[in-house]
């Protein structure tokens, strides 16, 4: 069994569902036009992942492999419908903005993917952790892409924060660039694709830097100490 730390690292970075597995791109690209929208959908997806991994791990010995997938889909669909109803009741305005993408969490391949690849084979604790880590990894992708598109596209950050955190948060909205005309491309769908591409490239550069032989780093440290 993997250690929790390993699972967390896996979900957030090594096997990030958005940046590495490239799963769940439809909601990722559609809802990442502002930071708050991204955060809202990310958290709803994370909750779904944790709950579906929990339930599927609990019943993994009682469900034969023949009906495994329909049962997983049933579980995920029930969980998402319950989350949708709760959001409709208690986060109504956010629910209106995220709209169709809440019920569409059911079709996010990342969720059935984790159910099949992890939760159906691992104990409950590790499965919950995996759901949490994968969910947070997906959320961070949505938040980073959302923040970048919001700043470049509209010159603000945390717009509509009151939809999530209540009226007291409405002054959280920051105007990053004053008198900004807006850069339409960043808000429109092409901006999402380009932004995602750049973020994946950035991640690959960081990974490549880290993967360089440690020998060099040691030498350089040594050199800098000497200097």
């Amino acid at each position: 069994m993997d250690s929790y730390k390993q699972i967390l690292k896996n979900g957030l970075w090594v096997n990030n569902q958005a940046f590495v597995a490239l799963l769940g791109l439809c909601p990722l690209l559609a809802v990442s036009n502002t930071l708050i929208n991204g955060l809202g959908l990310g958290l709803a997806t994370t909750l779904t992942l944790v709950l579906s991994n929990l339930v599927i791990s609990l019943v993994r010995h009682n469900v034969g492999s023949e009906v495994r997938l329909p049962v997983f889909v049933l579980i995920i669909a029930s969980i998402v419908t319950i989350i949708e109803l709760i959001m409709n009741a208690y986060f109504y305005e956010l629910y209106l903005i995220l709209g169709i993408f809440i019920p569409l969490i059911v079709t996010n391949c990342a969720i059935i993917g984790r159910a099949e690849a992890y939760a159906s084979k691992n104990p409950v604790g590790a499965s919950c952790m995996d759901g949490l880590a994968m969910g947070l990894g997906f959320t961070s992708a949505l938040v980073v892409l959302g923040a970048a598109r919001e700043i470049i596209g509209s010159g603000t950050l945390f717009a509509n924060a009151h939809l999530m955190f209540g009226e007291s948060a409405s002054n959280l909205t920051m105007v990053i660039i004053d008198d900004y005309e807006g850069f339409l491309l960043a808000i429109l769908p092409p901006g999402a694709f380009i932004g995602l591409g750049l973020l994946i490239a950035l991640k690959n550069i960081i990974d490549a830097r880290q993967a360089k032989p440690t020998q060099q780093t040691v030498n350089m440290d040594f050199a800098s100490k000497k200097a």
Binding site: N33, N62, V63, G64, E66, V67, P70, V71, L74, I75, A77, S78, T81, I82, L85, I86, N88, A89, Y90, Y92, L96, G153, G182, L184, I187, L188
Partner: protein, 212 residues
């Protein structure tokens, strides 16, 4: 019974059981949240109506004094459209119609059009749309002031032939890079005003459903 049959029957039971549990949990949540959701939807409509017809203008419950009219040609909607009536001291002061501009750039634009008894517009608001961000979405009252330009206008002001965007030789501004969206909104508002004028007798009755 063969082994395969056993497996099939067991699988069917498992699937059935999970369906039942799933339905049970969803129904339970639905029951718990149903009132709150209905409340949210009510308040959301009311909030939009109040922007156009604020509380000091009327003393009735707008959501109770509502009638439905079916006029696909005027309201761009094949289903009956709600018309809310505002009363003050038992007298009808205004109506709010909810037409749809079906010919937006990207799908339908849902509007609220508030008309004073005299036929003068109190104002127009966009309730929902999917127009292009940064271009057509200037019809949204929190994106630009354009939608406010309807306040105080009527079918004679400007004259009927000027109920078009400037590019078509009319009175109303279009936006840079977006003519289709404002054109659709102007047309929908004009049709609603024309419907009001033609059916004024049926609409402007002092009958009300709410108390008081």
């Amino acid at each position: 019974m063969t082994n395969t049959n056993k497996v099939i029957i067991k699988s069917a039971w498992v699937l059935g059981l999970f369906s039942l549990i799933g339905i049970g949990l969803v129904s339970l949540t639905h029951n718990v949240t149903a009132d709150k959701i209905a409340d949210n939807e009510r308040l959301f409509v009311l909030k939009n109506l109040r922007v156009l017809v604020p509380d000091e203008m009327h003393d009735n419950d707008l959501l109770t004094d509502v009638i439905e009219f079916s006029a696909p040609d005027s309201f761009g909607n094949k289903h009956p459209v709600k018309i809310y009536k505002a009363f003050k001291n038992q007298q009808l002061v205004a109506i709010i119609a909810s037409p749809t501009a079906a010919d937006g750039y990207n799908g339908s634009i849902k509007l609220l059009v508030a008309i004073r008894k005299s036929g003068e517009l109190i104002g127009v608001r966009v309730v929902s749309h999917q127009e292009t961000p940064g271009l057509g979405d200037a019809i949204d009252s929190n994106k630009s002031d354009w939608i406010h330009s309807f306040a105080g206008l009527s079918l004679n002001n400007p004259e009927l032939s000027a109920w078009q965007v400037k590019r078509d030789g009319g009175h109303f501004d279009q936006f840079t890079g977006a003519t289709i969206t404002p054109r659709a909104v102007v047309k929908a508002v004009r049709k609603t005003l024309q419907y009001y004028q033609a059916n004024k007798d049926a609409l402007v009755t002092n009958e009300k459903k709410s108390d008081g």
